[in-house]
Symmetry: C2
Subunit: 267 residues, 2 copies
C-alpha cells in the first residue's frame, strides 16, 4: 500500500521538486520530462506552479530550472526550529577551537545521515560534507554511533534500508558486519570511521543521547590519515563526551520532533 509519494497533488509536485534537486544543476524541461512518469502538460504545470512559488527558479536565458530561493528561506527556519544545530552551536564552536580539527554535527533523517552543522578549524579538510548534505549511515562515524544507540527495532528498520555500497576497501559491506560494529560501539560508547567512506579520511564520533535515552544526533571530529591516526583521534573522546553531555543538557528544555519512531502517539 501507500506509495511513499502519494499525497495527492502536493505530493506529486514535491516529487518534481526532488527531481530537479537531484539533478544538481540547472535542468531543461525536456530533461525532466524524459525521466518523469508524468505526461507533458502535467509536468509542465507542476514546474510552472513551483516556479511561481519560488520553489524553483527559471533562467529564461538558458531555459533551465533550478531549485529556488524560497527553499533557502524555509530551510533556515527548519534548521533553527527542528534541528539540534542552534542548541549545539556554541558547544561545537568551542570543541572545534579546542581540537583544531573539523567538527560535524549530524542527525538521522530516515535511514540517512543529515549533516546539520560543520566547523572547519585549522586547515580545513575539504570533503563531502556541508550543512544540508546527506550521507550514508552505515559507513560514517556519526551514522554508526546513532544506529548503535537506537532501540533495537528502530535500528533494524534502518539497517535494512542501507545500501552497503562499497566506497573503500574498509567499507562495511553487510548488515552482519554492521551489527557487529554497532555492538562494539555500544560497548565503548563511541565509534570511528576507519576510512570507510573516503580513503584517507578518519573520524571519532560520539552520539548525543537524551536523558530518556533517545538518540538526538551525533558529533564527530574528522581528520586525515596524513595528520593523525585512530589512537590520536581517541584522545579527543573525553572532550567529545563532555560536549555531547552539554548539548544534551541544553537540549532538555528544547522540544524536538522525533524522526525515528514511526507514529506511536502514546507509550
Amino acid at each position: 500500500m501507500a506509495r511513499v509519494t502519494g499525497d495527492g497533488t502536493v505530493g506529486k509536485a514535491l516529487e518534481v521538486l526532488d527531481q530537479v534537486a537531484a539533478f544538481g544543476r540547472p535542468v531543461r524541461f525536456s530533461e525532466l520530462l524524459a525521466q518523469s512518469d508524468f505526461p507533458k502538460p502535467t509536468l509542465y504545470r507542476f514546474v510552472q506552479t513551483l516556479t511561481n512559488q519560488q520553489m524553483l527558479a527559471y533562467d529564461p536565458e538558458r531555459q533551465t530550472y533550478s531549485t529556488g530561493l524560497r527553499l533557502v528561506r524555509l530551510a533556515h527556519a527548519a534548521w533553527e526550529q527542528s534541528t539540534l544545530a542552534p542548541v549545539a552551536r556554541p558547544h561545537i564552536e568551542a570543541l572545534s577551537k579546542a581540537v583544531g580539527e573539523t567538527v560535524h554535527l549530524a542527525q538521522l533523517d530516515n535511514a540517512q545521515v543529515l549533516y546539520i552543522d560543520k566547523r572547519n578549524a585549522g586547515q580545513p579538510v575539504e570533503m563531502y560534507s556541508q550543512a544540508g548534505k546527506v550521507g550514508p549511515a552505515y559507513c560514517t562515524g556519526v551514522g554508526k554511533v546513532m544506529l548503535a544507540f537506537l532501540d533495537d527495532d528502530a535500528a533494524e528498520t534502518v539497517i535494512e534500508q542501507q545500501s552497503f555500497h562499497v566506497f573503500t576497501e574498509h567499507t562495511l559491506d553487510s548488515a552482519a558486519a554492521l551489527r557487529a560494529e554497532l555492538n562494539d560501539i555500544r560497548q565503548n560508547g563511541y565509534g570511528f570511521d576507519r576510512e570507510e567512506h573516503e580513503p584517507g579520511i578518519i573520524c571519532v564520533a560520539m552520539p548525543i543521547v537524551s536523558e530518556t535515552g533517545r538518540v538526538l544526533g551525533a558529533l564527530s571530529v574528522t581528520s586525515t590519515t596524513g595528520r593523525t591516526n585512530l589512537a590520536g583521534l581517541e584522545a579527543f573522546v573525553p572532550i567529545l563526551k563532555e560536549t555531547a553531555t552539554k548539548i544534551t543538557r541544553d537540549a532538555q528544555n528544547w522540544s524536538f520532533p522525533d524522526y525515528n519512531t514511526k507514529e506511536t502517539t502514546g507509550i
Copy 2:
C-alpha cells in the same frame, strides 16, 4: 487579479508551510487554525500531507509541528545550485581571513536581502545574519549596493516594496532618502551601513556585478563601532573590489537564474 499565493492546491499547501515557518517555533494545530483562512479539515489535511512529505515534522509528545528536515536537504541543493555561494566560497574565505572581520554574501530575493553565506573571522560579531536568513534591503549595506546597481525600473519596483521601518536613529526612512543614498553609492561604487539596521553595527558593502551589468549579489565586511569606524572599513574597499571581481570572473561560466526580472509567463 492573481493573489500572490494562488497556484491551486500546491500554492495553498506552501502557504501553510510558510505559516509554520513564520512561527519560528513548534506550533500546535489549533494555533495554525486560529490564524488561517482555511476551514479546519482543509488545514488539517494540508498539515497531514506536509508531514507525510517531511516538509513538516510532528512531535507526538507535544503535539506540535515544525518545519521538516526535507527542507534542509532541498535547500542544500538550492544553495549549491542556484546561488553564488559555491562560486564565491573560496574568495569569501580568503577575504575573511585577510580582513579578520565577519564577511557576508547576499543576494536579492524579491525585495529582500537573502544572506547566502557568512564567514566569522577573529572575534565573531554575534548578530542577526546567517545563511538563509532574510533582511531588509533599504537599511543594510548589501541591500543598498544591490539596489544601486539594479536597472532603474527594477530598482523602482523594489524600492516601492520597502517598508522603511525605523530600526535605529540612522535608518533611512523614506524612498526619497534611499534614492539619494543609492545615487551616492552608484557614484562611489560601494556603500556603507551606518548603524542603520542595528545600533553599533557598521559595514562596507560591494556589489557583485556580471560583465553584462547584471547584479549577481553583494558582499560586505561587518564590524562594530567599538572596534573601528567607517574610515577604517573604507580601507577594505580595494580588497573587497578585488574579491568581487574574482567572483564575477568565476561566475561567468556558471549560469544563474535572474531573480529580479519579472519574466511573467503571461498576461
